[in-house]
């Protein structure tokens, strides 16, 4: 196990180095960079001369050779003066927690993401939890009552959950639970945002609860719709998964033995079958965490939640590469960790599986 873990860690580091190179080179070498638009515009009125572009590039440190820029991004350039005095700078590099300065906002990327990461992580974690809490019992029920009416209905709903565009579901939920509820005189949910900016109006759920803007309760109520919407896709997928896995386990010999010795069916399912049926689900849940993290992009756009997703949208549309690189690198780290974790969990919950 230890040897396996060490080897996987090494692989992880290598994959991350390759990913970081890919991310950096892809963004910095591809056509369509921050100044390409200016270049193609240069025959029109808004003419920007080559010298001006060069000046701007020098200002952002884009005039150095690309491999040096990559190294500076990763390790910082405060030590580079000893190689070439011209390259001396004041960044400390990604590995020392410095993602550089944003092109557009001219302030450290780290400052921009510091209070955004917890929001996106909260969205991801809570909706994954919610999806699991629903998927496990529903999947078991569906499997135990295979081909019953309830099973068909639940299977139909999982089909819908997989097919429905989550962001449209989010928009519709705003119309129903924020707008229509308001006009029907029901306690309406907030239509978006992370917290209230002023004292909530009478008649809304927040008003009824008397939540202080910015309080835990306030944030919690704001997150109800986004979390439900975000968890929907995984909920549907994991329910199907749980059903399949439970059906497989229920056919196995040891389950028949448990039944044969006269145990109550409820006990057989809950004690004997469930443990083994959960193994595949646990791995898929861990494995899919980065996908939920990525999925928050849509949900944050729908509900106007200032998390990592909205930051990424802004950064991409504005060619703000330091911010884009930070987002993609964080995603890469998450992905690699989640893959490793799901492999390791697999052995922890099922000692029959040996890792090589």
């Amino acid at each position: 196990m230890t040897a396996y873990l060490i080897r996987r860690m090494l692989q992880m580091v290598i994959v991350l180095i390759i990913s970081s190179i890919t991310i950096y080179m892809l963004l910095n070498l591809a056509p369509g960079g921050p100044f390409d638009q200016l270049r193609t515009m240069s025959d029109r009125k808004s003419r920007v001369s080559e010298e001006q572009i060069d000046k701007m590039e020098a200002l952002l440190g884009l005039n150095k050779p690309i491999q040096m820029r990559y190294i500076a991004w990763l390790l910082g350039d405060d030590w580079m003066g000893s190689i070439n005095p011209e390259w001396e700078g004041d960044t400390r590099g990604v590995l020392r927690g410095d993602f550089g300065d944003s092109f557009r906002q001219k302030r450290p990327v780290m400052d921009m993401i510091r209070d955004r990461i917890p929001k996106t992580v909260a969205l991801t974690a809570i909706s994954a939890l919610l999806a699991m809490i629903v998927a496990i019992p529903v999947g078991i029920y569906s499997a135990v009552r295979q081909y019953s009416r309830a099973d068909y209905v639940l299977t139909f709903f999982t089909f819908m959950g997989v097919a429905i565009p989550s962001f449209w579901f989010g928009l519709m939920s705003i119309i129903i639970f924020a707008q229509l509820f308001q006009s029907w005189g029901l306690p309406a949910l907030p239509s978006g945002g992370w917290e209230s900016l002023r004292t909530p109006r009478e008649g809304t759920l927040l008003g009824v609860l008397g939540a202080e803007p910015g309080s835990f309760l306030d944030v919690g109520v704001h997150l109800i719709l986004p979390i439900v919407v975000l968890s929907l896709l995984q909920m549907a997928g994991w329910t199907r998964y749980m059903r399949t896995s439970m059906l497989e386990v229920l056919q196995q010999d040891y389950v028949r033995t448990a039944r044969a010795k006269g145990l109550a069916e409820r006990f057989v399912v809950a004690k004997h079958a469930l443990r083994n049926a959960l193994i595949p689900l646990v791995t898929i849940v861990t494995y899919e965490l980065p996908f939920i993290f990525g999925g928050t992009i849509l949900i944050e756009q729908v509900f106007g939640i200032p998390g990592m997703g909205l930051l990424y949208i802004d950064a991409l549309s504005g060619f703000d590469f330091p911010v884009t690189q930070a987002y993609l690198l964080i995603t890469a780290v998450l992905t690699v960790i989640a893959t490793l974790l799901s492999d390791v969990l697999y052995t922890v919950v099922d000692p029959r599986i040996r890792l090589h």
């Binding site: 097919a163 565009p165 962001f167 519709m172 991409l316």
Partner: protein, 315 residues
């Protein structure tokens, strides 16, 4: 499983003259949801490809333009009336026409992307499975890697990096390229698995014995035998692409206005969510119906093509 077994027995009992296609259709028809799905899908495709020819409006004509000289501008976006059945959008364009035209874009994009990704995936999977060795190792590592990537952020960054003016068709082509670049992995795995089990069977050895080239064996013997699961995967993929297109266009990283698509119409409709909530409803509903229909069709197709349940053990 019982249904599949029944189907198998029925197939054995069926008269010999029945062609394979007839048998598949007979098994397919038994799935009621899939038949409903097929009806909806056919109706949607017809509506979107023929509908825009029949409406008296143009999807890009801005009504406000004629009215700019008037003093009291009427609101550009109107609700449904006898004239504009679904009303007009924020620029005064007929919403029904745009919905149908947008469906054309969304559906055509999905069909083209699905066909091309399946072709690429099938070829890569065929080569990988047939040759094995280091070719297989390299190709499958790439597939593994692409598989672990969270798709949405990667799609977005690729979309930004491909220059829009360099390709004919602009943003629509770019979006298709993004989907094709990252979408072939699933079917390549599928075909590779099939080829691995096929390549040592007797008919393949017979082909080799009579001196058929590797290319011929892959194209003539391996891929046709692996076509059934690819067809199923392709059908199931249509819904995914339609939803994916909608998501990216909604975020502004897909089909760009003035070209309508179901995704960018949702982006426009979100701004009118307070006054015209139904305009949010329609494009999403068509996306949802398309995706649901193709999922049902694909699921039934899997049963119909593979009555013994070999391709989907456990489901």
């Amino acid at each position: 499983m019982t249904v599949a077994e029944l189907a198998f027995q029925e197939e054995l009992a069926a008269p010999q003259e029945e062609s394979q296609a007839q048998a598949v259709w007979r098994r397919f028809r038994r799935h009621r949801l899939a038949m409903i799905g097929l009806t909806i899908a056919v109706l949607l495709v017809f509506a979107c490809f023929i509908g825009p020819l029949l409406t008296p409006f143009d999807s890009n004509t801005i009504r406000g333009r004629d009215l700019l000289l008037l003093k009291d501008l009427p609101p550009l976006s109107t609700g449904p009336d006898g004239f504009h059945i679904l009303g007009t959008d924020s620029l005064g364009r007929d919403y029904l026409t745009r919905l149908l035209q947008g469906g054309r874009v969304s559906l055509a994009l999905a069909f083209v992307v699905v066909i091309l990704t399946q072709v690429v995936g099938t070829i890569v999977g065929g080569i990988s499975g047939y040759y094995g060795g280091w070719v297989d190792a390299v190709l499958m590592r790439i597939v593994d890697f692409l598989f672990t990537l969270p798709s949405l952020p990667i799609f977005m960054v690729l979309y930004v990096l491909i220059p829009k003016d360099a390709v004919p068709g602009g943003s629509i082509t770019v979006l298709a390229l993004v989907f094709i670049t990252l979408g072939w992995t699933g079917s390549s795995r599928l075909v590779r698995g099939m080829v691995l089990s096929l390549k040592n069977q007797e008919f393949a050895e017979a082909a080799r014995a009579v001196g058929a080239s590797n290319r011929r064996i892959i194209l003539r013997h391996m891929i046709p035998n692996a076509i059934a699961p690819v067809l199923v995967a392709a059908t199931l993929q249509v819904g995914g692409i339609v939803v994916g297109e909608a998501a990216l266009s909604y975020l502004g990283f897909g089909v760009q206005p003035p070209d309508p698509s179901w995704g960018n119409m949702l982006q426009g409709a979100q701004k009118l969510i307070l006054t015209r909530p139904m305009q949010v409803f329609y494009p999403g509903m068509t996306i949802f119906l398309t995706s649901l229909s193709f999922n049902f069709i694909g699921d039934a197709l899997r049963d119909a093509l593979d009555p013994r349940g070999q391709l989907s053990a456990g489901h």
